[in-house]
Symmetry: C2
Subunit: 328 residues, 2 copies
Amino acid sequence: MSIKIGIYGYGNLGRGVESAIKQNPDMELVAVFTRRNPADVKINTATALVCHTDDAKYMTDKIDVMILCGGSATDLPTQTPEIASMFNCIDSFDTHAKIPEHFANVDKTAKESGKVAIISCGWDPGMFSLNRLYASAILPDGEDYTFWGKGVSQGHSDAIRRIDGVVDARQYTIPVPEALDAVRSGSAPALTTRQKHTRECFVVVEDGADKSKIVNEIVTMPNYFADYDTTVHFISKEELDRDHKNLPHGGFVIRSGRTGENGQNNHIIEYSLKLDSNPEFTSSVLVCYARAAYRMNNEGMSGCKTVFDVAPSYLSSKSAEEIRKTML
Amino acid sequence: MSIKIGIYGYGNLGRGVESAIKQNPDMELVAVFTRRNPADVKINTATALVCHTDDAKYMTDKIDVMILCGGSATDLPTQTPEIASMFNCIDSFDTHAKIPEHFANVDKTAKESGKVAIISCGWDPGMFSLNRLYASAILPDGEDYTFWGKGVSQGHSDAIRRIDGVVDARQYTIPVPEALDAVRSGSAPALTTRQKHTRECFVVVEDGADKSKIVNEIVTMPNYFADYDTTVHFISKEELDRDHKNLPHGGFVIRSGRTGENGQNNHIIEYSLKLDSNPEFTSSVLVCYARAAYRMNNEGMSGCKTVFDVAPSYLSSKSAEEIRKTML
């Protein structure tokens, strides 16, 4: 019997979840929930329904796990606690500073409903977090480094788009190769923000816009660009659409640590991702954690969980015997 | 109150565990157990006892977790089931083909005693296994690659030492850079044994030994060398002791997979280790899984477990709140 999945919110992430479900034969998409008029939403799964989000509450017996595909800024803080009061669910909440508050809100409703809700599943937070935890538990005497990119930062692209005279923009975050090499050497360098990443911007402007003023506004923008070496390229709308339409991303989590009676031996643990599609990879993480939520709830667990609380075996479609035999 | 640890077997691995415990303030080494005369064994922890292995059974109330540091060939198959009948315990059993049998034997005694025994904790099996599992659960449509090295293979070094006329030897396993690059490109190549790794041997021979005969015996040795491109260097005993006394190792676990409605987007997940000391890194993994065994048993769990069954949060000395706040 397959695990019955609902998708709550149908943007890039929701479509990614839909295609990921097709790669997992033990799962079945039952319905997509949207705030739009369901009649106007066309999906890629002939056997699934399109329903209004208001009608989710009538489908608690039809769906094993709801995968929330909204945004962290305004959707998930209210949606996840609400959905957890009715369904096992998964989200990719990624506002790191607000995770403790979100956890507490979701934990309350999930404990009341007896459901499992796994929050912040993606790659950062998510797989990168897991790798920080494993590596620091193994090598307590050491330093952690996280590098992001090369990839498109949507928040930074949006910040450029808000500048007067800008039509469209794409911002790439790029790790500095020399910084990566220094970390991998085991020298445990102290690195400033500027030494770790550069930022490269491709910007389309209105006819007659003051380009030097726009460059200045970008490179001096506090929080977003002021602390980085930033390069700005002006290109046409056609070039942007042709060369920069994808959403690649990735990065590196590296721990450099020492062992031995005198700390004489050095070790480097490195985890890296190179992703053609940031939203589709996040979707794939969401889907395997949906399997975990279903199984954990079937074993009687409830409440809010994170990737730290999920034993890896729950993620695989294979049996415990099979993974011990083929993957251990 | 600290977690009280016993070390069962005091070779390279046991000494590594001893120094790793000193990096974990929530742990305390209580005793080292040896098959030798305890009076002849000198350890590096003033506050710990040295006891004979026969006396472990009298110390069940003094030790929370026993870390088994024997070998997989002859020690662990009998030791782990026996120790699991009295103690929570951890081993690094690494004979991949015999894991199901070892698991069954340990599970039986650990269930009877109500203790937790975590087997095959190290880096392969261990961290590499975990990364194979996570990556294949996230990207079900993909291929796995494991590369080992550059590092010393002790089994291969031993095989060379058994050749007539050989005094000592050290064998390095080296991943082929072009194979790594091909995998990272996302082209999902099919690779033969010969295409993935080369083997480099440093050999000390007796005066007057027939070097060409020894080279031929090495490079044609079935299972160990015949399927690889192997290089043999003859060096002096002094050179071997000076340049090859350490036990570095490492490797790469890479998954290349596709997502999207038509599999149009490619993703590379890569985990790698670069270790100055293979036994000390394995020891560090054993120690953090000892913490997990202690906690899991305190929560009422029992039986044989592997890294697949251990939720990551059990490994960290920090609280669940703290890891959510600082690492997620």
